[in-house]
Structures are given as C-alpha cells and as structure tokens.
Symmetry: D2
Subunit: 443 residues, 4 copies
C-alpha cells in the first residue's frame, strides 16, 4: 500500500446505531439486504475525485488552505500518480464501491491538445492498473469543459467553432477512457453552457450547437458499444448567469427538442436544485415523472446563500424524501450516489475528509432505510392513494383517457349539477406521520 495522506486511517466499518466511534458507519451496513438486494447495490456510493483529491480550499476571496503533497511543484505525471495513489487509499479507507472523475482531475493539462490527450491516456492506464487491486469501480467519467480560459464563452455553445471541435475531441477520448475503465455512465455538466450576459448571446444558435454536440455523443456511444447511460447534470447558474440545463424540467424539454429523450437522462444534484428554487425531492420526482432519472450527486446547499456550497449532507428529512422518490421511480439502475461534496475551507486535514464522507454516507443510508420502511409500512402511500381514488372510478377514467370531449364533460357536469366538495389536504397530519418515521433511529 502506498504511503499517502490517508494511509494512517483504518478502513471504516459498520458498527451499528449505538456505536460511539465517530469513524464508524452506524447505518451504512453495505451488505444489509433491503427490498431484495444489498444496501450498497441500491445506493452505489461514489467518491468524487475532484472534490476529494483536487480541491484546494480557495474561494473567491481567498487562496488555498488545503495543501496536499501532489499539489506541490513537480513532474506533472509523477504528481498525478501520487494523487491517484492517495485517491485509491481514500477509497480503501471509506470502503465505498465507486468513484467518479473529470479528465482534468486525474491527468495534467499540457500546452497542446495532443499532449493533453496523451497525459490523459497515460493516467487512464495508471488508474486501470490501480483498479486491478481495488474493489472500487468507476461510476462515471466526464470532461472538464469549463475551467480553462478557452471555455470562458462556453464549451459546445462557444461562438468559436474551434472550441466546439476541441470539446468534441476531448469528449471522444473521455468516453473512450470511461468505457476502458468499465464506467457505468458518462456525464456532461455544462458549466459554461449558457450566458454571462444575454446581451452578447444568440440563444437559439447556442442551443442548436448544444443539441448537435449531444447528438454526436449519443451516436458515438452506440458506435463504440458503450452500454452505460449518458447523463446531463442540470444547474441553473454559476459560474454563468444562466445555464441552459437549468433544472430537470428544462433538460427534459431540451432533450425532446432534439429527439434525445430516450437516450439521455439526468444526474441530479441537491445543491443545484436549491439554486434553481426547487427541493431535491422535487427534482427527483420531476425526472421520474418524465422518465429521465439517471443518477444523483449527493450534497447540500444553503438556502440562505446564493452559490453552490457543495456541503456534505445533513438534512435527514430531505434525504429521506429524496430516497422515497428514488425507490418509487424504480431505483437508480446504473446510476448511483456520488458525493459531489467538498469539505469546508477550514476543514483542511485528511481526518476532516474521512469524517465528512462517513457522516454523508451514513445519512444517505439511514434515509434509504427509512424510506424503504415507510414504503413497506404502507400507511403513507395509502393516504396518497386514497387522495386520488376518485380517478379510479369509470367516469373519471373515461375523462382521463381521452374518451370524452370537452363538450361531453361540460354537458355531463351541467346536467348533473355537480358541486365538488372540499376535502382536507391533511398536510400537517402527513408531516406528523413523517416526523415519526424520519426522526427515529429505530430502523
């Protein structure tokens, strides 16, 4: 085993709810069978290479506070290998089944496209080797098409077609590597796919550019026989003033506009939901309603702040209801729960990194177990079913299924002299029921 900043930590173990060990899982019992399969196969946790290995703690008003050995000056490839060794050591400590990366996280950029791609393949091979002796698999790969200055006016939506071509080349290689490493999904986050100001933007042209790129990606996926999912990650803004992939509903419309709704799904992030003015569970329920739920980026934002804080999650209510909607949607399939969360700028120690993941994984596990129990118990679902029961009646079904015209329905309503009566929405009763289910650790 390599001698990394994480090598002194033992592998975190499940010890149960009563454990007082802060570096043990209390709820994440990976092998516990729930709803027919082990918890780990429901949740498919992943560690994010960028947040956990590449973040330096800088913010718009301050410099780096997290100084890892691989961030020091040195031969880029050698340092990238030190970083990779630490990454796999972290995976060992956390004992989570997946990881995710951007090309730029795991391989150094160089001065030219050719050298940059060469570095990327060098490191892809190195990661492949590391994976031989690791239990951790690749949940998804993606390309960073937002950090470098060439993307300042967009990636596939750039006014300069050469930037589009650069992106195409980068994505092609990133898809190749994702397939090579056995990834389950390929993700696109359009951090600069939007506008800084509408004043200098041709929105229609940019949307068409973005649609073209996505079509190219889907076509290439089929060509190389990549059997993972293609995922778009919605976010409304930041760093842009407006990002075209605003939220799940907007992405659905975009996919329909370019005929890609059966080829592409969404990777939903909690904090991005907050920035769009939605709850995480809303985004999940929306994607589910439109049949495009793909995977989750686990974190939390701060509703009182207007930027992407990407904190580790600690809101049990939201996470439980999110998991409820995931289960109702049929689960995450090839997707998973990627910790797109970073330790706070003041939490610069390696120990902080472990604590953060342990708390986050445990919260999600507990939320999933509670959601499963809630569904198995059935009381909550019964309240919902009862609320919509009227629609099961034959007359209502006839209206619903399109067998009656507006005139037919109007004529019936007038003839019957209908006078629909109010029924309580029971919000407080439901909230009380859920408080009992969510805020207990007897699961």
């Amino acid at each position: 085993m390599s001698n990394s900043v994480f090598s002194s930590f033992e592998t975190v173990k499940f010890e149960g709810a009563d454990s007082s060990n802060p570096l043990a899982y209390r709820f994440y019992d990976a092998e516990r069978v729930v709803m027919g399969k082990p918890l780990k196969d429901h949740l498919r946790f992943a560690v994010a290479y960028w947040h956990s290995l590449a973040m330096s703690g800088s913010d718009p008003f301050g410099g780096p506070t997290i100084n890892r050995p691989w961030m020091a000056a040195g031969d880029p490839i050698a340092q990238a290998k030190v970083k990779a060794d630490a990454a796999f050591d972290l995976f060992r400590v956390l004992d989570l089944p997946f990881y995710c990366f951007h090309d730029a996280d795991m391989a150094p950029a160089a001065d030219t496209l050719a050298e940059t791609l060469k570095n990327f393949h060098t490191m892809a091979d190195y990661l492949g080797e590391k994976m031989q002796s690791s239990k951790t698999k690749l949940l998804w790969g993606t390309a960073n098409l937002f950090s470098a200055p060439r993307f300042m006016a967009g990636a596939s939506t750039n006014p300069d077609p050469e930037v589009f071509a650069w992106c195409a080349a980068t994505i092609k290689h990133c898809m190749d590597v994702t397939k090579q490493l056995g990834g389950s999904n390929y993700v696109l986050w359009g951090g600069r796919e939007g506008y800084e100001t509408l004043l200098n933007t041709n929105m229609k042209h940019e949307l068409d550019q973005m649609g073209r790129m996505l079509s190219l990606v889907v076509e290439y996926k089929h060509k190389i026989g990549f059997d993972g999912q293609i995922l778009i990650e919605p976010k409304p803004k930041e760093p842009t003033s407006h990002q075209y992939d605003f939220d799940a509903a907007t992405v659905y419309g975009f996919l329909k506009a370019y005929g890609l709704e059966n080829e592409v799904r969404v990777n939903l992030e909690a904090n991005h939901a907050t920035l769009a003015g939605h709850s995480f569970e809303h985004e999940i329920a929306t994607a589910s309603a439109f049949g495009i739920l793909g995977s989750l980026d686990i974190n939390r934002g701060d509703a009182l702040l207007g930027w992407d804080t990407d904190q580790f999650p600690n809101d049990l209510w939201t996470m439980t209801m999110s998991m409820y909607h995931v289960i109702k949607a049929g689960g995450l399939g090839k997707g998973g729960c990627n910790f797109d969360a970073k330790v706070r700028r003041q939490s610069f120690t390696a120990e902080d990194m472990i604590h953060a993941h342990v708390g986050g994984a445990d919260l999600c596990a507990r939320a999933f177990l509670t959601a499963a129990k809630l569904i198995e118990d059935g009381k909550y679902d019964a309240i919902l079913a009862e609320r919509y029961a009227g629609w099961q009646q034959p007359g209502a079904q006839a209206m619903f299924s399109g067998k009656q015209s507006l005139e037919d329905i109007a004529a019936w309503a007038e003839k019957e002299g209908i006078n629909p009566q109010p029924r309580s929405g029971k919000q407080e009763q439901i909230e009380n029921l859920l408080m009992r289910s969510i805020y207990t650790d007897k699961i």
Copy 2:
C-alpha cells in the same frame, strides 16, 4: 356615456416628448408608423379587467382600500353592469385598443354551476353590446380556476375528478364567449396547477391530468373554429409552492410531452419571470428560440421581494431589451401587451389608475421605438453577428449540420493541433452602446 368613476377624465392624447401634461402620452403615438405598421398594431395594448376593475387593494395583512361603486352590496348582475360601464369608460379614457377578462371578473359567481354559467352569458351579451359602441376589442379571455375554494387543491390537476369536470365546463363556456366577443387568444393560467406540498402529491398523475385538459381545449378550439391562439401563462409559484408551468422552458417541455407544441404558445409575464429567477427578456428569448412566443403580460416585480407585486413597469432597460427580442422573434402576431398590473394599495383613487396606465403605455412605446431604432441602426446586431461569424465557415457548418461524427471532428482537431484563442466578450462595450441608445429620449 355612463356616469362612472372614470367619466370625468378626458381621453388621453399623444402630445410628444416635450409635453409637461402628466395625463398625456409622450411616446405612445398610436398611429406612428414603425417598421411598416402603426405602433398600436405592434404593441396591441390591453387593459386587464381584473386588476383595473376588480382589485380592492387588500393584501395578506390588510383589507380593501379601493372601494368602487360596483363593489357595494346590490343585485349582482346590476352591479356587474355598473362595473362594465366603468370598464368601457376607462377604455375610452386610455384609448387603448384591447381588453382582457376572466369569467369571474365580469360576471358574478352563483351557488350552482348552471346559474354561474347563466350569469356569465348574460354579462357576455352585455359586453358584446358595449363593444358595439367602443373601439376597444378583446385581446383574450380566460377562466378563473383558482379563487373559489373548490380549486384549493388544483383545477385540472385536482385529486377530485369532479373539479376537473367543473373546469372543463367552465373553460368550454369561456372559450365560447371569447369566440363570441371576437377574442384573439384564449389563455390558461394555472394558478393552482401545482402543489402546496409535494408530500401529498402524485406529480405524474397531475401532469397527465393537465395534459389531458389541454388536449381537450385544443381539440375544442378546432371544433368550434376558434382561430385565436391558445396560450399558457407560466409562473413558478404563488399561490402554490410549485406551479407546473414554472417558466417558458418548462412549459415547452410540457407541451412536447403531450404533443401540443404546435398548438399552444406562452403568454409571458415580467413578474413571473422575476419569480422564476429570470429576466423578462430571457423568457422572451427562450420562447422565441422554441417557437412558442405568444403574448405578453406587462408589469414588473421587485427582485427584492418574493411575491407577485404586479406593478406598472418603469424599468426602461428591461423593457427595451424585451421589445428588442419581441421584434427579433417576428413580433407578437395575434398576441399583445396586456397590462397585468395593479395600482398600489395606497393608490386608491381613479386618478391613480389613469396615471398608472399612461406611464406604463408610454414606457412600453418608448421601449419599442428604441428597440426598433437599435435594430434599424444595425450596430448592435453587427456586434452579435461578428461574434458568431466563425460558424458561417464551411468547416463549422459541416459540424453544425451533422455531416461529421464525433470521431471525424476529433480526428480533425488532433491533426490540425487546434488551439482556439480567447476573444473579448465585450460586455461593457455593449452595455455602454446600449446605455446611449436606451437612455435618450431623442427617438
């Protein structure tokens, strides 16, 4: 002429930019020909029956401050006629070419569906008579499916199918009356089509209900030969916690999901854009990009407040850029500019009502004239065209049109060793150019 609260006011006239008369139009010269037709035919201003005749000045913490004669106790139909007389007197004073109504604004609700519909037709006939001797036409009609308690859990999305039937009957009659009165559009605003809490909501079922109702409406439109537009008015929330017609992009996705994108367009409101986290011009540009721009609700919100303030507009920059995007989209067609704006609670006098409309119409007219001049001048458009000029090159067009695969483009990029260079986005230069154009009254 009737003796209404507005009868003492003269018809407002155009007097030019140098007029010091606060009750004259300084920019709204209805007959001024711009881009080939009179200003009035571009803008198609409408007075809103609800805000201008039916609002009482109450807010969540206070009661009515605006007491009009028709709000006093009395025979409902008689009072509705007093209100209608005042309405047409207001139209005369403002000399604007259109008005809009909800069924509930112009006819009193009764205890039963049958009586309510009867009142509605009685008043529709009365309005028809009034229109004989008025220059003011109907821009659009709509049904109020949110105020009555029966709609508390939604209109077409209600868990109770009888409410759906009630809505169907109401909409049918409202479409009939809109056609009868020569309306150019029929609008649906889904004020309660969403959820108060996701906890008691079956989102997929409700979306399907809403899709069904819209399909019925479109089918009926064709059946009766109504040649106006069917419009949905997006709003993200309020009074609901979430409204399904969140914004233009969301509505587009919804229309695509139910195959209605060629049948239905959007009626965009400035304040609703603000609540969704967008600028008004963004919403217009989005609807334009997706080919669903229908009509405008003119007002403004307050970005520092979280509710629909529906104020009369006074932001010249936003309105000018909004009109710029309207012109670029080919104009409003059968749509128009409806003043969905209400006087403040403290502005309870009839005079306040006139001032408010004069200021609003003048701002929009000035904005339109400036936008037209900006386009005719061409400097601004030239900057935009130059920014995307690279996409006119043959190689770029080949990529854009789908003649090349991801691999083709990647191979070319690698072979060429492309290295796209940064170009200034020129935001400040463009803003300076626009400040010169917008903040001058020499138009």
Copy 3:
C-alpha cells in the same frame, strides 16, 4: 363546557415516544423536570388567537376555505363570544399554558374609535371570565395596527399624525387590557412600519415617529406598573417592501438610537428570520449577544418561497439548535413559545388544527430535551470552548480587555515574528456529532 367546533376532542395527553396515537404528545411531557424545572415552564407554549381562531384560509389568489360558526353573519359581540368559547375549548384540548391575542382578533371593530374600544373592553371582560375557569393564561397581548385601511401608509410611522394618535389610543387600551388579563408581555409588530416605496418616504422622520411611540409605550408601562416585558417583533418585509424592524440586529440599533435598549426586547419569529436571510438560531444568538432576547414565535417558513408561510414547524435540526441558544441565553424568562403558525388553506377541518398543534408542540419539546441533553453531555460545548481557549491566555486577555494599544500589539507581533498556524474548523465533525444527538429519539 360550550358546544364548539373543538368540543368533541379529548384533551391531548402525553403518552411517550412509543405511542402510536396521532393525537397524543410523544415528547411534550409538561411536568417532566429538566434543568431544574418542568418542561412547561421552560417552553411556556401559547396558542395564537389570530391563526387558530381568526384565519379563514384566504390567500392573495383565493377566498376563504375555513368557515367557522363565528365567521357567519350575526351580532358582532355575540359572534365574538362564540369565537372565545371555541378558543378556550381549543386551549382545553391542547392543554397548553398560554394564549396570545391582537385586539382585533377577539373583539369586533366598529365604525368609530369609541365603539371599537368599547367592544374591546366588553370582550376583554368576557375573556377574563373565561380565564377564571381555565388553566390557560395570557402570554401577551398586542394591537393590530396594520389591517384596517387607515394604516395603509403606516401606524406610528404614518405621514398623517391623526393615525399616530389613533395608534396611541389603541395601544393604551391594549396595554391596559393586557395588564388586566395578567399578560406577561406586551408586543408590537410593525407590519406597516416601513415603506411601500422609498420614493414617497421620509425615512428619518418616520424612524423618529416610531421612536417616539415606543418611548410613550415604555413610559406608560412604568406609569401603570405593568411588570411584563415590552417586545418588538422583527420582520424584514411583507406586507411592506421594507419594514424598519428588519431583524434582531436592526432592532438593537434602533433601540440604542432611542435609548430604549434596556426597556425593550425582541419577540423572534422563525419565518421572519428566513425572510431576512437568517436562520432562526442566528436571530436567537444575535438577540442573546446584545441582551435583548425576549420571546419566540414558533413556526417555519419555506426558504424557497418569498413570503410568510407561517407553517407549523417540522425541522428538528433548526429547532434543536434554536433551543440550544435559548438555554445558553438563560432561557425565555417571561417570554414563551407562541405558535404563530396557521394550518394550510387545504387543512380546513377542526381536526387539522389539533394535529398541527400536537406536532408542533412535540417537535419543540423534543428539540428542547435534546438541546438540554447536549448541554448536559458537554462534548459539544467542550469543542467550542477549546476553539477559543487561546483567548484565555494572559496576553490575549490583555489585548481583549483594552490594556494594549494598536501600537503595543503591533510592536509585540513584529518583535515575536508571530506566524499563526491554521487549525481545522471541524465543521463536518461537529455536524456528525450533532446528527447523532438530534436524530435520535432516545431522549
């Protein structure tokens, strides 16, 4: 016992965490002794007359859904008595120790000031009688100086001095009645004390008017020997665009400006904190730091909505940390926890009202018990103490207490060549610790 809408409900009893009775308290064991006194004396729960008896379920887009017998037409005083009977029946059912009122909640307004005051005293006497046979006491009284049209431009801050005088008269009588009924506090909420638009406002004059009124109130309190607290309730906006009592810090500055910081404290509301961009616990900690914590209005807002939703609380984390800061501040003293929360518009049944209060009281009780346990356990406080331990050193104390000048400190720092080293802020570790403490029902 009267035959009210609440008379069919049994008094809610404490049954413990394992009870499955939805109308039992699971954590609110009123007599349980914690930190030296019964839980009920720490929390001092109060039922709000306005939200629980006077709300009709209307919202800005819809009419009443909650129709109680006393809202029907009838003799105003007779109906006010029916309402009062129902109120005391509700207090009996909930078995909470206090209630709160506005003058306008419990007595009908009349056409003149004299009649309005007469009605108020009539009903005050009636409430006094009811209290003879009830366990429920008055936590606080207040005057509604925002609903009537005369307050549309402010109460004490009105441009019209006659409105100021009207308020003075009303407050005088309301203070008299609060004293008569044994109230522990007198509260002022300045719902219209601010501006709708700064454009027509003389802010300095209005602040001076508000300062004058508060000075009159304090003077009168001493004159009549009222030994309760005078409380201001901060809120940033709504119904106004800006309310002068924006938040706890702003109120503190206002009190200092008019020399009233030792005479007046704050009544903090959770939802008002949200609207001001703060957490509830932040507001409590701020008031505590400035020595002006008075009482709490218990509810919750929705951070995704921009208005005062006044929902019953269900966020255990926030409530626990709020109670932690209350205990750290020395408790609520004469203040208490008033349920300034209303059932949702769709929750119109009497049963909903009971469920809502039971859930809310239980959440607060659980939060208090957890906070007390957290403090008694000591681990959390120890982490905090350790973080600031450096300030206990003599050199640091000398700086802190003002014994050294800027030059002294600079000279020392330069001479020593200090180089302060980073220490982890341990946010994730602390959050994990708190998750264990808060999300367990073993208390």
Copy 4:
C-alpha cells in the same frame, strides 16, 4: 511615461452628450459647476487598485483569463513596480481624481510579517513618488485581512488571538501608509468577520473582539493625527455564510454597542446592498438617517444571482435615486465614489478596462446631474413635503416632541372622535414624474 498595457490610450476627454466617441465622457464634465462646486469635487471618483490591476478573471469554476505583464513570474518588488506604473498610466487615461488600495494589491506578501511589512513600505514609498507626478490622489487605503489562509476563521474575530495580533500590526502599518500618502479615509472590510457556520462560533466573543479592534483603530487614528474618516464596509455574506457587518442598520447598532457611532462611518457598496436584500438608495438613506454616511463603492450586482458580481453600473434609475439621497445627506464630504467594479471574465483586454470605467463614470455623473436638477426643480421634494405636512401642525409637533404622554394622546383622540381619512400614496404618479426626469439626456 512608462510603457504599460495602458500607454497606448489617450486621456479620456469630456465631449458632451452628442459625442459618438465611445472613449469620451458624455456627461462627466469634471469642471462643470453644480450646486456650487465642480462635479469632480462632488463625485470624487476613485479607481480601485484591486479590481483594475490585480484581478485575473478567475472564478470558482475557472482559472485566470486576464494576464497582465506584472502577473508573470519575476522579482516580486520589480513586478509590483511594473503594476504600479501601469496603475498610474490607467489613472492618467481615465483622468479620475483618486485611487484606493489594499496593502496586498500594491505590495507582495512575503513569508514573514516583517518582510511583508517591509515590502509594503517599499511600495508605499514608490507610490508616493508616482503621486508626485500624478494628479491622482489617495481616497482610501485598507488592509486585506481575508485572502491569506491565516484569516480563514476570521481576522479580528479569529478564535486564535495571534491572528488578532497579526491584524493589529497590519492595520497599524496600513493606517501609517494611508496617512503618509495623504489618504482621505481608512476603510475596514470584514470579509471573514462573521462565521462559516454558527455551529462552531461564539458570536458574542467574536463581536467583542471586533469591537475591541475597532476601538484600537479609532484610538490610533487620533494618536497619529490622521484626519480622515474611519469607514466600515457592510456586506451580509460571501465569502462567509454570515458577516457581522450585514448592512448599514446593523453596523449602526454595532457602532452604538461599542460607543463608536461618532467616530466611524460606512462605506456603502451597491452590490452588498443587493446581497442584503436592499436597494443601494435604501442603504444610503439609512446611513443618512443615522448620520453615518461616509463613502460609496460604485458597482452593481445582479438581483437574480446570489454572489458579488461587482459589475460596472448601468442602472440609471438606481444611481440617480442614490445620488439624490447623497445630496440630501449633504454630500460625500471626505468620501467619494470608488469603482469597486471589475470587468467580466471575458473582457480581458486593456481596452475593455477603459470602456468599463468610462461607462461607469458617465452613468454616475449623469445620475448626479439629474438628481441635482430634480432637487433644484423642487417638484418632487414638494410632493414629499406635502405628504408629511400634517406633522408641522402644532398638535402634531407636541406629540412628536414628547410633550404629551400616551394617555394624553389617547384622551384627545377619544374626545375628538378622530377618524383619519385615507390619502393616496401617489406611487405611480411619482414614478411617472421620475421617469421623465431620469430618462432624458437633456441635462
């Protein structure tokens, strides 16, 4: 003249409203006498060293796009001099009377406190020399106590007293240099004076630390005979979750708490107002009402975004009303208008930098001229005066000045049977009047 990135630009000249030269001032006629003195002496424009010389265009998701010669590797002092030469060249081009700096902008940090201070004095002397041959003076100096990792948990509010001492030493030298260079003000911006999470924070202790530091600063100011103003710059959050200097009203309360309200004023920034939920004019009016208006940071935010975008201003309405309140407050005195604005990330050319300042200065100048004209015209002020005229009556003055008790006023109101009548707030009429005044370039 040095050969800098700005040396090819001519000095920007005033050419009048009709000039079509984009690099001319159209409204900023520095010598034009308004209200008794030249425009330049009212506005006292300053260029910000940090935004204009030190910003690299990076954002949380992307690296530098602005590469100036002095940012390349090299001897730190030599490069700082290249930067200073460019700065003074920029000042020459813009022909604005002032500049502002942080210590860290103009001198390189070193490994130790001693060396850092030495660098600072070396560069201070160099700037002093540059100023000999420049018309540009120092508006204010300040210390950057937020960027370096040592400040990650606060500056004066740090849990580590050594950080407090470091700050004290830095501020002392920064005040010395500000005095040496003839600065008119010394500013404190507490970028990290607040908390990242309340969970690890002792708010009361931190407030006392901050109060102590400010007292030391005021004491030192008097000791060295610095006759400039001491200014605090309010901001609600970012990079912190909460900053103690939230807004003008909060800072006023803080100053009162520590007895410093006559010694310290505020430097108000437009974008910080937006983040606090206020308009810029609100913050100015508030500071004016409390007598603490000091200086302005000119920029704008984007109300739809939740972070400090620091854009150059282009909202004529807001700026005009802001200038109106500045004039009403008696002007800026020793303060001025500092362009705390940065070019967009895509506006990386030197030319963009000039355009941005020209547009910003012109907007402010136009706004000031319009505000002055509005005041000289008198119509707007007359509307305001009339609104509060009732308070000039003897009876009202008696209430206002404290000659009557609550009882006296109540007795009078009851005896008179007062019944105050509603008066229109005339918001729309006032907005129309202001639109005419603001949106004309005939000034």
